[in-house]
Symmetry: C2
Subunit: 331 residues, 2 copies
């Protein structure tokens, strides 16, 4: 069998067996946004990594080296945010063809250091190697979270509401523009959501610190995939209300221009890097109010948690259809 047939999720299931040889350190191994370790002292240590490969995850003529550096770190900081954690440092490996201009790598590191500065995260180390053909970037992010603030994927309970921290589908819409022959300057907001996403670190730390949310994930692979991960880890089902998924005006306008369904971008597009979380129904309004006061922006209630046997579904114009987790499969 080929890896493309078994797929990323099949591989992860195989990999995560027999992976822990020192159990007493590990709070959460493979199977959430980051690993969580007990270390001496008051904090849990978080660690995560993501690899970006040219022509698979990015096109060199589309994303500038500055943006690539920024984004490679952003997607990892988002995983730290998805644990309610604070990023503390990153390690960066990059493989580059020998004939790459030094300006390219300097710009890459400028973008990377720019986001490090923005999030007060140290660039701790890395490896710079040559590549026969394609650019490959790997970022590992480290972070910390007070044990009482740690929120895993697995805590969602039946009756909980499902919330998100912002509009969805913007990144996928930005990618549509990039891949189309459209004028790239019309929707700068959508392009920047795709090329230089903003990890919701402060938002994740704030939400986790309230002690009121029951599960938390970042939306890296599309809403369909992320709600499926929460449901699977929590052993529950979920119902998402299509009309309540927040869509930006830009996304709606672009979808109309292109004759596309913007919901598809929100559900299956991925790379929005907003947060999705669940909380008890009765806490929903107070969380929204506190969040609004702190960040001057809205949280959106998009559905609720249902029993496992009801599955994961989308309710749209009164009809219910199953949500299939196609999302963003790395194979």
């Amino acid at each position: 069998m080929k890896v493309s047939q078994i797929g990323e999720f099949g591989l992860i299931d195989k990999i995560k067996k027999d992976a822990i040889f020192n159990k007493k350190r590990v709070v959460q191994g493979i199977g959430d946004d980051t690993a969580v370790e007990k270390i001496n002292g008051g904090m849990y240590l978080l660690s995560t990594c993501d690899m970006l490969v040219e022509n698979i995850h990015f096109l060199r003529n589309v994303i500038s080296p500055w943006q690539l550096g920024y984004k490679a770190a952003a997607v990892n900081l988002s995983d730290i945010a998805a644990m309610g954690g604070k990023p503390t440092g990153i390690l960066v490996s990059i493989a580059l063809p020998k004939d790459t201009d030094t300006e390219y790598i300097e710009e890459f590191y400028k973008g990377l250091k720019s986001i490090c500065k923005e999030y007060e995260t140290n660039l701790l180390g890395g490896d710079t190697v040559s590549s026969p053909k394609h650019i490959v970037v790997n970022v590992t992010a480290l972070g910390e979270v007070p044990p009482k603030d740690l929120v895993l994927r697995s805590g969602a309970g039946i009756g909980d509401v499902v919330m998100v921290t912002g509009t969805l589908g913007d990144s996928a819409a930005g990618l549509e523009i990039i891949l189309s022959k459209k004028d790239k300057s019309i929707y700068p907001g959508l392009l920047s959501r795709h090329l230089t996403p903003s990890p919701q670190v402060k938002e994740g730390m704030f939400l986790a610190s309230l002690g009121l949310i029951t599960s938390l994930n970042d939306i890296s692979d599309g809403l369909a995939s992320e709600i499926s991960e929460i449901a699977k880890a929590s052993q529950v089902g979920a119902k998402i209300i299509a009309e309540q998924i927040p869509l930006s005006e830009d996304v709606k306008n672009l979808a109309q221009e292109m004759g596309k369904d913007p919901l598809n971008w929100a559900l299956y597009g991925g790379e929005d890097y907003h947060l999705i979380f669940t909380c008890h129904d009765q806490d929903c309004e107070i969380i929204k109010k506190m969040f609004r006061k702190k960040f001057k922006k809205e949280l959106y209630k998009i559905g609720y948690i249902v029993p496992l046997e009801e599955g994961i579904s989308l309710q749209k114009r009164g009809l219910t259809e199953p949500i299939i987790r196609k999302g963003y499969n790395h194979f």
Copy 2:
């Protein structure tokens, strides 16, 4: 200018500027075998990463997937050993062509988990993605060291002796066999030193715990490169005595068969993953004795630290020649 012209060390000098945005955590940033961070509690947190690219660092028809998994972790555990630290966990990213057999990746993880088990190190997470053509592996290793045991590269002083934990050049000799038409079964020890190196973790922890050694490095890029790193970081020179560099019988025999100078393998071959360290002359014998008692093996004194202006040199049959740091440049 191209990255191949500026080289890896030139790039590192550029990258390490303005990399730290939260100074109070950082004991050592870019510029040693690992980063070192102060965290809450008694230990320092160590982190390091290494990327291996097909056709640059390995050939798919030469190294089995099991060996690749083992080695990708080993080279990183060796960096933790080079700080006197204990590895605690690794994160692994791998990019694979879509048509790779699942057996390949299963064997890769078997090798990886085998060394994790051997060194009681957890496999904490990772990323599995597709690649247009070449296999790329990145491993990040985390570890810890008690602050009193941390040994940096920068502590070598004039008059110190230079020691190594084992024979050098074996790995380069193994690579010579692999790349030649020689029967691969004649020198299994040399092949395994190249394909499945043994990071000197217990040895590093023991040496560091003595409180007697002044600098420490692992020999990943050849003796010439590593002694140069210690000398540069410590602002000193060094004199290596050619006749005192330990060479295995296998290396000597193979060199004779092939008409090669085994010293070149030891000095410039790299990937031996033994440790090199310095200590005060008067502590040398007691360290050797304690090490022999603990590990039933020898330490080798190969030279001494001299003033900066004397440079880094090799003394061979009474003649002194400069050691040029060519080593293993990743570009």
